[in-house]
């Protein structure tokens, strides 16, 4: 039941996202076009032939004109064509890669929230016992070991030492859409991707729970004769989630940036892999498209996080 104020707030935020996308796409457009080299350098086309190719892609026009034509077609859902695979439309390519990355990132986010809050609550309930020490140690490992180290280790163990266990699952065909056998295939990269963020959520949840459990209303809840489980989940955890939600925005960004590394190490054909390849190949249009999609994702994720606040904490209203 969103109030009128909430709807206005959402509209404002969406408008802000539009402006952000304009700014990001413009800056990225200018930047990638000023990079040295071009997509056609390796193809040994010179002189008139090169001019012809550049003209074909409209790259001989002034840069602002190019941006304008990118923008007008992007608004209609057409993000242009790839230079590397000549003439391949980018929109369906990016959409397919987005679905793969979203699946990977979404699984990592679920792992983050599920494992992170569970570990955090258990650690707080058993403060200064072996349970607490074990879980906080896992969390510390999670947020101190870089994901590329864990990813390399995971590949070594599951793809090299134990290939039979995974049944060759850690191999992703180039046009993979993530639609078959998905969870098995994504579980290892998703766990590694969510490990860092789970550690952060564990840490924040534990600290928040310890603080909340000292509050007067927890004493009231116990004095009412509520069961420990009810006191912990309904009274303590709901309040402890408020600081957890506040770090959710940065964590989503961590997952997105982490996915770039993980996808490249595991060879998952998602947005993050395309991101690196397009930059290396000077495939300007793809780079701009991927950047813009990332900006959109982060904008929407932050909006959702801010709306989640109002769900968990009734004192917050927009």
């Amino acid at each position: 039941m969103p109030t009128r104020g909430t709807l206005i707030y959402i509209a404002q935020r969406l408008l802000l996202i539009v402006f952000t996308l304009l700014a990001v796409s413009f800056l990225v457009f200018i930047t990638v076009h000023s990079l040295p080299g071009s997509a056609f350098e390796s193809e040994r086309v010179h002189g008139k032939a090169l001019q012809l190719v550049l003209h074909q892609y409209g790259l001989d026009r002034p840069i602002l004109v190019q941006y304008w034509s990118f923008l007008t077609s992007a608004i209609q859902g057409n993000l242009g064509v790839s230079f590397q695979i000549r003439g391949l439309p980018i929109t369906p390519l990016v959409m397919r890669e987005l679905s793969v990355s979203a699946e990977l990132g979404g699984t990592a986010l679920l792992i983050t929230i599920g494992i992170g809050t569970t570990f955090g609550v258990l650690a707080a309930m058993r403060q200064n016992t072996w349970v607490d020490y074990t879980l906080t140690s896992i969390a510390v490992v999670g947020y101190s070991v870089p994901s590329f180290v864990l990813a390399g280790l995971g590949e070594l163990i599951f793809a090299y030492w134990l290939p039979t266990v995974t049944n060759g699952a850690i191999q992703y065909p180039a046009n993979w859409t993530g639609t078959y056998g998905t969870l098995v295939e994504l579980s290892l990269p998703a766990i590694i991707l969510g490990f860092y963020t789970s550690g952060q959520v564990t840490r924040i949840t534990r600290a928040a729970m310890l603080e909340v459990l000292q509050q007067d209303y927890i004493r009231t809840a116990r004095a009412k004769g509520l069961k420990t489980r009810v006191v912990t989940v309904r009274h303590a955890l709901r309040n402890a989630l408020i600081p957890v939600i506040s770090i959710l925005g940065p964590l989503v960004i961590s997952i997105i940036t982490g996915s770039v590394i993980i996808e490249n190490i595991f060879g998952i054909p998602g947005l993050g892999k395309e991101f690196v390849e397009s930059i290396l190949g000077a495939d300007y249009n793809v780079t701009v498209a991927v950047f813009t999609v990332y900006a959109l994702l982060i904008g929407i994720a932050n909006l959702i996080v801010d709306l989640l606040y109002t769900v968990v904490d009734p004192r917050i209203r927009y």
Partner: protein, 367 residues
């Protein structure tokens, strides 16, 4: 005399901190009759709240009940399992707390928090809970209860929150309601309303009330019997008239003299009790009040006075008692209430040598 509903015997609760063992409650015994209103008064940190929390088993680590018995309906609450005790909390013995803002969960609706107490126990049929929630809110005089029950605590005023707390406490028709400083965080007019409400509820529902407060006026307004606590012990016990009209323990006497009165001469300074309550980790020898007592005698430094009957239904733990202080030390007229001022007794090595002490007691110091 009916059997007491609650009988606390020799209760001691200590906190095991890094700095040492804080002996917050030491050997406290008292009882509450059905329907009775008992006040527990004392300064901050004297162990009133810890006593109440001990009764409900709500003392958190590092605190622990180290000895004693808490008999409720023939069962020792300290020997019950966690589940058995949980079943008594909020159902047979309810407790309401000091700061109604921090004592209500900010993210749950007020009605939900009231109903939840009833769902947790089987005393109220679950299909009657919501109706009773609204009725309770009406009973504690929250206007527009049907609508306000859906509010969150931050939408309530301080007085309304305390009323909601009381409604919560009464929801399961408890036999005993423990109110820990229920009026402290409220302004005076609201305080009076809450006290009146508690008095009405006591008369209507017959629930016994233990009222914990540092405010003597609040006790006078609601309670029939009073316990005075000092440094974790009960120093005096009596009817409200006895405590206010003929206090026998010097601490009670001093406490009463430190209350501002509208009919007092404005030129007079309020008498404060000099010094601070003792460190509960490192307690003084003998009577715990001796470092601050104007009427102390030599014996107070060596032997702890037992609580003894000083009048019908009145008990005090003091070697001197005010009766003697009035008769021998001129307590009625003294203006200097500094430690040892009336008796002239000072610890060995200070102003008066011990040998002179008996003489000093024999003669009234002033007048």
């Amino acid at each position: 005399m009916t059997d007491p509903i609650l009988e606390v015997r020799n209760l001691s609760t200590h906190f095991f901190t890094d700095d040492g063992e804080v002996k917050a409650v030491r050997g406290v015994s008292f009882s509450v009759a059905p329907g009775e209103t008992l006040g527990i008064v004392g300064e901050s940190g004297c162990g009133k709240s810890v006593t109440a929390m001990s009764v409900l088993g709500l003392v958190q680590r590092p605190g622990k009940v180290v000895s004693g018995e808490i008999m409720f309906r023939g069962h020792d609450l300290l020997k019950l399992t966690r589940e058995e005790l949980r079943n008594i909390r909020g159902r047979d013995i309810a407790m309401i707390f000091q700061d109604p803002l921090s004592s209500l969960n900010p993210v749950l609706r007020v009605g939900y928090q009231i109903d939840e107490a009833m769902y947790a126990h089987d005393k109220i049929a679950s299909n009657a809970v919501e109706r009773r929630g609204i009725d309770l809110l009406k009973q504690v005089r929250v206007s527009d209860a049907e609508r306000r029950i859906k509010d969150f605590p931050h939408q309530f005023s301080g007085g309304m929150r305390q009323r909601a707390m009381i409604a919560m406490g009464l929801s399961n028709k408890p036999d005993l309601l423990i109110a820990d400083e229920p009026t402290t965080a409220l302004d005076v007019t609201v305080q009076a309303q809450i006290l009146e409400l508690l008095r009405d509820l006591n008369e209507q529902t017959g629930a016994a009330i233990i009222l914990i407060t540092h405010n003597l006026g609040v006790v006078a307004g609601l309670c029939k019997r009073v316990l005075v606590m000092y440094a974790g012990e009960i120093v005096e016990e009596g009817t409200v008239e006895q405590i206010f009209e003929s206090p026998q323990h010097p601490y009670t006497w001093s406490l009463l003299r430190s209350v501002p009165r509208i009919d007092a001469n404005r030129g007079h300074r309020l008498l404060s009790i000099e010094g601070l309550p003792p460190d509960l980790i490192d307690l003084p020898q003998g009577c715990k009040f001796n470092p601050r007592c104007p009427f102390r005698v030599e014996r107070c430094f060596t032997e702890s006075p037992p609580i003894e009957q000083v009048a019908p239904a009145q008990h005090a733990a003091c070697w001197v008692t005010m009766e003697r202080a009035y008769a021998e030390m001129g307590a009625g007229t003294i203006t200097d209430t500094s430690p040892g001022a009336a008796s002239g007794v000072h610890p060995a090595g200070r102003s008066l040598p011990p040998a002179e002490v008996p003489a000093a007691i024999a003669e009234p110091v002033s007048d």
